[in-house]
Chain length 415, copies 2
Amino acid sequence: MHENMNVAVCAAFEPELLLEQLRLLGTVGKESTAGRTRLALTDADREGRDTVVGWMRELGLAVHVDRIGNLFGVLDGSSSEEAPLMMGSHIDTVRMAGHLDGAYGVLAALAVLRAFRRAGVTPPRSLVAGAFTNEEGVRFQPDMLGSLVTAGGFPLDLALNRLAMDDGARLGDELKRIGYAGEMEPGALRPREYFELHVEQGPVLEDEGRQIGIVEGVQGISWTRVVLSGAANHAGTTPTRLRKDAGYAAGLIITGVRSIAEALETTVGTVGSIGFEPGLINVIPSGAELTVDLRDPDEGRLLEAERRLDELLHEVSIRAHVDVRSERLVHFAPVPFSQELVAMIERLAEERGLSHRRMISGAGHDAQMMARIAGVAMIFVPSAGGVSHSPDERTSDEDLIAGARLLLDAVLQRL
Amino acid sequence: MHENMNVAVCAAFEPELLLEQLRLLGTVGKESTAGRTRLALTDADREGRDTVVGWMRELGLAVHVDRIGNLFGVLDGSSSEEAPLMMGSHIDTVRMAGHLDGAYGVLAALAVLRAFRRAGVTPPRSLVAGAFTNEEGVRFQPDMLGSLVTAGGFPLDLALNRLAMDDGARLGDELKRIGYAGEMEPGALRPREYFELHVEQGPVLEDEGRQIGIVEGVQGISWTRVVLSGAANHAGTTPTRLRKDAGYAAGLIITGVRSIAEALETTVGTVGSIGFEPGLINVIPSGAELTVDLRDPDEGRLLEAERRLDELLHEVSIRAHVDVRSERLVHFAPVPFSQELVAMIERLAEERGLSHRRMISGAGHDAQMMARIAGVAMIFVPSAGGVSHSPDERTSDEDLIAGARLLLDAVLQRL
């Protein structure tokens, strides 16, 4: 675009209105003084969608809803030949959520479109602000379903037949019930680029005192369930060397998982759930069950982490005299984003004088699905204390505005 | 006693009847093909007591029941001046128990008295076969209550007012209901020696291929509850160095407890129960709670183990960046038995050609209470696989008979 148009659009950006809309959308589904709950395709989700659609219409955007309920506001460009540039995220939430996760990406996208409108500038290509269905995956499985269907990774019919985990309702029926069963085929609106602005949901930016994270990709994820079988014996009468202590084996695995993460450096490892049988203070555990969550941005290293975990389990079975069985529940390969877009955003952040770093997203995002069909970039802003999925989720206004301005810069640069 | 009398009594010992009585008492409270349940002061316990009383009366013993329901069969000796020699154990059981724990000690005591009767020999001092109330502690707390009250360690009134954990019934009322609220003051029948024959309830004798364990005392016990508080964070987005992982801290404690046990050699350590909060596969645990059971036959080393545990907790709090709170739930000092009696039984086992070893009891027994008022000895026989408190509890007939014969030897030696 012409330089003077860019200046006009930037000047028309309204940071205060973005913050106000974040606050307003944050009141939808609010059950108490803290937290709001807008599980996908509930009445609260409908109310959130209606609110966003209202703001889209105020801007004179064309509103489209596809058959999986993804919601798009389109600002037509001067050329209808070229694929649009899409920004977005989601507005469904977990239970008792903060007001930023997802909503920030959707409303910042609207703020970008609003800046064009206010400046009276028609973009050379269409711009789209999107909100994908069921990103959180709390009510329907799998998570990121709307973007996954869009990217062709999950059949529409199967998706519409998914049943809610809370009340058993069918996804397709719920879409109709709340008035968001659209006509458009998912993926019909196929962008060339997809930009997603999001809170980090981790502590790294805050810890390093940086304002912007430029996301190079999403980590790979490996989940393993481990079942340990030893022998329940009296905690007083059984000498150490004769024990088949499934609890001790669990302890070795927990500390071993940490050692794997530390040795591989880019890997993180978590034992998040555990249980002992019979679970009595004076009985050596006969059984233990635990889960291992391993993540790494590199598929080779993730596979290496899994290999080391399997080796650890074998060593533990020998050392603790217990039987170890394991089941790999999930293996998602890492998703790399566009290095060209990463470099571009890095340069733009530099120009704005924003402190920044490249980073990997530890959490899943719609962007990783859209990476199957578009050039994808994600921008992170700091999360106070690394907290997310909580009413305590917080980012300073300054950081929220800086992120949205950088998104606008990226759009202007890319058009 | 005269040597020829000893020979006569030994010759009159009826091993087959002991095994038969074990089998018969084992049918009382039997609910299924496996296991029997005779919780203290239930109808099943009454039926067990009635059975034992019947066998006492067949032998012409004087039957006494004291106010806490302890049951004694007395074979009067030629001198009524001297304190009697008591043998015994308990006949209450845990749920779905084996047929040996407790019953073996009581019925072997009866077998000893029967040998005197059959031989027509009057012992120089009275011999007593006793069955103490509520040893297991499943229905009423504390366990070993009958012997504890006998030894003056727990006020009778308080004991009678204890309420059952299953149905809230008052202990004193239950004693009356089943007809075992006696008149005798607990402790009125005060023995000079108390001998208890018991299955090991541990794997050591079997593992070493020995027939007899001569118990030098009961281990000290220390129970600690540990509460860990970290921060729940996303398992994907939080780098290792920024984690406050309460689960990792728990793993360090589990393996650290094992290290303490291995370093102190005589100590055993068990983490038997554990729980994580929120307990999700993809969330770093914000909280963990676990219990630590430490035991050692020596009070100094038990205190040292506790000191090392406290040190471990402090180190873990620093290493895992979590807050650690702990509460000592229980500290029972070890109870040493009579070294003179240990040496005597050792010699007798040697004479009988029985393989034997000195050992410490890891479990609690009435003997440890009686050690407050009498010279105490305990003899263990092997438990197959170390299993106890289970229908799978098993000891070979040969071992059961060898143990009872050794008990008889010890009585004859000591009279």
